[in-house]
Structures are given as C-alpha cells and as structure tokens.
Symmetry: none
Subunit: 403 residues, 2 copies
C-alpha cells in the first residue's frame, strides 16, 4: 500500500491486540448555565463517569473542524475513523438509513415530500398539509407497487409528509438536482443532469414521477411529490479492511445502526435500557474486537431545549457507563459525537469531552468528566477522526511506523 496521511493508520494496523468499547453519548457537550457557569454534564451527578475520569486520560475532541456543526452522520463517521468530508454521506442515504432500510452500495436514495399542487401543477403546500403518518404509509404502499423496466424501486414512509425512494440497479448515480423548489406558487423543478452518468437515473425518476402523478391525482392534499438529496451509496472500505478489527454496533436508533452498518460493523440487537446494554455487550465482547455503544437521550433532551432534561439524561448515561465499565474492556472510550447545548436546542460545533481508560493511557489529574475539567487532560484537544487511532494504539493494535 502506498502510504499517505489518509491511510497512515490503516497501513500500520495489525490483526491482534486488545478489545475496545466506544460509548457515544449523542450530543454530550453543552454550554454553561448562565446562573451557575456549569454545563449540563458538569451539573449532573455522575459519580461513575467521574470515577472513570480519575483512572483515564481525558481531553476533548473537535468533531469535524473548528466552527463546523456536524450532523449525526458525519460526526459518527469521524468517530469511526473516517474523514467525514472525504466520506460524506448524502442526505437521501442518511434518510434511508434513518428508517432502517437495508441499503446496498450503488443504491440511490432520495428524500421525498408529499406536496399539494393546483390544476396548473404549481405547488400550493410543500408539505401536503402535513398528512398523518398513516396516510403517508398508505400512499407509499401504493407508490411502492410502481414497476419500472430499468431499475428496482422501493418507496417507504418516514413520517407525516416525508418518505424515501430507493432505486437499485446497474448504472445509477446520485447528485441530481432537487425538484423541490423550496417555494410555493411554482411547479416542482424538472430533473436535470450535469453528467452523462446520471442519464439513466434521470430516466428512471421521470418514469417514476409520471406513474406517481397518475396514482396521486385524486388525492385532495398529497397529489404530488418533490424530491431532495438524491444520493448514491458510495462504497466505503470497512473497518475490518481498514483497521483489521471485527466490529459490532449496539444502538437503538435506526440511523446510528445504519451508519455503523455502512462501515461494516455487525449491527446487533436493539438496545434501550442499561440492562440491555450490559447484557448485549457481555455477549458481544467475546466475539468482537470493537463494540460501538450508542446512547441517544443526551442529544434528544438537548434538542428539546431543556437543561434539566439533559441533566437527567446525563445521569442516566452515568448508569449506562457503569454497566459498560463492569465488562472491563481493555480500552474504553466515552465521548459524544458532537455538542447539543440545551440553550441552543440544536447541534453545535463546541468541543466534546473524552475519556480513555486503558492500561497504557497517560492518566492525568482530571477527577471529573466535564467540559472544563477535560481541558486539562493529557489527551489535549484532538479531532473526532483521531479517536479511532488512539483507541487502536491503546489496544496495542498499531505497529511502529518506520524503523
């Protein structure tokens, strides 16, 4: 292998070594409460995470780059050791992964809105009056029966007016324009290609649109569809190929299961409670070198904008972290994929605390797991994509570079 910066880690990865567990608390990082100066994580009672911090190397990570707020897809790609800009996952692909659709390399996935158009075909409501999810399910089932000669077509509901189309077949491509004009009073945009490789995909989608228009023509609200984020699932080298590890994912939400599957992790049973996590982790620990455990509530409570709810979710995380610790992995790394400060009620760019517990970790004097305390940790502030190499190194899985 010709060695360059992008594959330096891959080029020194070895087959043997210790076992690693990556516990990701989604949206973990936060911002200080104006009255106390303490973040959600610093406010929560987290005796188990603090005890882990005492015996760990601590630090922070910048998920993508300074100032860049990541979606969950790129943020997880970085944690899995993939440059999230080089391996950008298209929006249609993420939407399909988010409903648990079993995408294959080469598939083209598309986000769909049901919409309302008038007699001239001009959009009156870009969201078809937010039809109920049941209606969405009924309509997608009808559209799913469309058969086209050039490609398989799958149509699946997301919720309300949102759905997904997946095309499967040879010679398909992504990157075509959105047909949603992001405005009312105008018709959906025609599909245009910028590259000869998109020609077949455009034909398939135009044929699909004609058939869909016929099926939907008598619907009072959802009498049209618009398409966005037309994206092919590009082949991605697996963590097995790159890092010589057998990897598994324990997660409860389809999108995280989907992204883990994309990089070649075995996606195990759904986990929800701390009991689930411990039991599944003990079983998986026998068979896998690397296990990704996803904890969702720290993000959803932050997105809801409730400081108190995020504190409570963080205290729940603390119990899950203790269950994970009880398995005593050779390398345990606890972090978030990005920050979700409850004061912003959205993802943010702020660095995320990290703790890394391993026999060879340079244990520092950080005694609490929090944004401020981790600033003084021995890991310093690294990029999200640097954490996988650090886990592999601490597991004794990276050979010396050069002699």
């Amino acid at each position: 292998m010709q060695r360059d910066k992008a594959n330096l880690v891959d080029s020194v990865a070895t087959e043997s070594g210790g076992k690693m567990v990556l516990l990701v608390a989604d949206g973990l990082g936060g911002l200080p409460h104006p009255e106390t100066g303490l973040t959600e994580l610093e406010t929560a009672r987290t005796p188990n995470l603090d005890a882990l911090a005492v015996e760990s190397a601590c630090g922070l990570h910048v998920p993508i780059a300074p100032g860049i707020t990541p979606g969950s897809g790129p943020a997880h790609m970085a944690l899995f050791g993939y440059d999230p800009v080089r391996y950008e996952i298209g929006r249609g692909v993420l939407e399909a992964l988010g409903i648990g659709f079993d995408l294959r390399p080469g598939d083209v996935a598309i986000r769909v809105n049901f919409a309302t158009v008038d007699e001239e075909g001009r959009i009156v409501d870009r969201r078809a009056g937010r039809i109920p999810t049941e209606k969405c399910e009924e309509l997608t089932a009808r559209l799913d029966r469309i058969e086209l000669p050039m490609s398989e077509v799958f149509v699946r509901p997301v919720r309300e007016h949102r759905a997904v189309i997946v095309l499967r077949g040879a010679g398909l491509a992504g990157g075509l324009n959105d047909t949603d004009p992001q405005a009312t009073g105008v018709p959906p945009l025609p599909i245009e290609i910028t590259d000869g490789a998109q020609e077949k995909t455009a034909e398939v989608l135009n044929a699909f649109l004609r058939a869909a228009t016929e099926i939907l023509k008598d619907e009072p609200a959802a009498n049209a569809i618009t398409m966005r984020g037309i994206a092919a699932l590009e082949p991605i080298p697996s963590v097995g190929e790159r890092f010589k590890i057998r990897a598994a994912a324990l997660a409860g939400y389809p999108m995280y299961r989907g992204v883990a599957g994309l990089v070649g992790m075995d996606v195990l049973q759904m986990v929800e409670t701390a009991d689930d996590v411990e039991e599944a982790l003990r079983a998986a620990y026998r068979d896998y070198d690397f296990i990704f455990v996803h904890f969702k509530k720290t993000d959803s409570s932050g997105e809801d904008g409730s400081f108190e709810a995020k504190v409570a979710a963080t205290e729940e995380l603390d119990l899950t972290a203790e269950r994970v610790r009880s398995v005593n992995p050779d390398v345990l790394l606890v972090t978030g994929d990005h920050s979700t400060p409850s004061s912003m009620a959205m993802h943010s760019w702020h660095p995320v605390p990290v703790l890394l517990r391993a026999a060879r970790a340079r244990v520092d004097d950080v005694t609490a797991f929090g944004e401020s305390a981790c600033l003084r940790g021995s890991l310093g502030t690294v990029r999200g994509v640097d954490l996988m190499p650090l886990m592999l190194a601490h597991a004794g899985r990276l050979a010396k570079f050069g002699a």
Copy 2:
C-alpha cells in the same frame, strides 16, 4: 460545489446571522521578562481586556504552523480565513499594498532598490548610499514617465533607496528571478524566464531597464536599479463570495488596508485614535456583517525592542478594546496576527492569545488576558485560519454539515 476540506466552511456559510468584530493587535504575543516571568501583555494594566476575558471563551492561536514566523501579510490572510500557504501574496504585491497602491488582479508588482554601479556595471553599493527619501521621490517621478508599448508602468517611491514598479496589462506574469545578486562586485543578474507565460513580462522589464539606465546614468549614487519579488496579484475569492458577509476594514496603515482590500473588504476611513475607532465602528456596524479593526502599536513597539514601550502600547490597546466593546458586537474576537516579543525585536512564531465574546461562547474560568492564562481557555490552541470559522459559527452563520 464539490466539497473538500478547503471549502468546507464556504459550503455551509449562510446569508444571515449576527455581526462580528475582529480586533487585531498587531504583534500582540510576547515572551516573559526574565525578572518577572511575565510577558508584556501580562505586565500591562489591562482591566478592560481582563473583563472581556472573564465573559469570553479564551485560547491561543498558532498563526501559520508551529515554528513558522509569519509576515504581516500571511498572518492577516489567516485571520481572514484564507489558508496563507495556498493564498501566498508575493513580496512585490505586499510592498505595493504597503504604500497604498491600488493594485488590480493581474498586475505585476516589483520591489526595487536604487543601487550604485561602477563603469563596468558592477554593483558598488546595493542601497545607493541610502539616498534620502526626497531623492527617491524625485527619481521615481522621472522613471514613472517611461512609456512602453506593451504595458502600463507605474513607478512609486517607498523610502530611501526603496521603490516599487507595477506593470499593468494583458498577459503579464510573476515569478521571474530577482536581479539583485545580493552581493557587490558583480553586475545585476539578467532576467530569466522559467515559463513561456513570463516572456512578455521579461520583455517589458528589459525595455524598462534600458530606459531607466539612460535616465539614471548621470546620477552619482543611484545610477542603477535592481529588482526583487516580481509577483502577480492573483485573483482571490472575496470574503463576500466565500463567507456570504459584507465586510469592512478600519486600519491606519496602508499594508493592512491593502490586504483587507485584497479579500474584498470595503476599506473605510483611516483610524488612529480610540475615538476614531469607536466612531467609525459605530457607523460601520450598521452596514456590515464583519468589521476588522487594526491596532498597530503593539507590533511597532515590540519591533523597537522596548519591553516598556510594548507594555504602554498594550495599555493603549486596552482602552481601544473598551471602545470596541462599547459597540457591543454580537461576536467580538480580540487577538494578534502574530507575536512580536520585545526581547527579540522581531516577529516570532509563538502562539497568540485570543478571546471570543459571544452569546454562544463556552465561557471558561480565564480571568486575565495573557499568554499563560489563555492556555487554560475553552478554545484551546487553534490555527489562525480557524478563527474566522469560529467567529462565523458563533454568529450563527454556518449551517450544519450533513444530516
């Protein structure tokens, strides 16, 4: 836009958001006084900067890369969000900007020395006995009257033996060799081209040299010229195109005004005093999204090698910072473009303190603005080029990357 690391920030920049003020104290960083262990900034009485630090996220920035001492041009390019290696500004171009010459893309600018040569054309004095600036002005006025068929030629004085030539016309190029041999006893070097695209420029310069030799032949000291840093002004995408901001510059020195103009900032009236700065900033704040304010004395006092003078300049900066704060910008970032330790009496590579005050800043426990205190700040140590994305993020001007 095909997204890559170089345009990641551009690709997520949005049209709307808060307003930003960047206060650059030139050469701000320093080194500890051997007796007190405190730098100039740590020695100065700076109650206003310290108060800002209390309510800010603090940190340090490495202007270009570890160990690299920047000139003011690249250091400011980095602060404006431009990779200073990718967008390197040629020396001739910087010299022309430094005298306030209104360069246009495609112009070729050249640093000129008046020199003394003997009857055989060998250089006797590379600086023509450091002729007085008035003499330089007289000679450049005569050389400026040279007319050439292939290009416009402008000749302008800098000071003493130094001048600038600017060529303007189609098909010109930079990158030709210096004619200054950096030695005496030898004649100036001939102009050589390494690329066919330089042919016309070489012809123009040779024709100019013949005409100049004729004009200068009876001068006792300045009877020849040498040329260095022959550089074209390459087109640079503006901050408006890249970051979707309307930007303005408040600066008193031509070079900073010139570099700001290069990246598409509106260069406003000259400012010198703290009063000037506040008044101009209040007016500009209505019309612009981003305002760059330049403070020079911290650098010039450091270059003079006086610890005390730099302390005094820093106390003056403190008053200017308070005037800037009084405008209460949504995002206020105070830093330097590089360090200029008075003990070195020159620019250096040492990291530079940063404070960032904004509603969404992760306020830390730094209570003084100084090199040591900022080491414990929540921004950590970043690159100079990372500061613009951080300002844009805190102003709410960067959309999420990926879903």
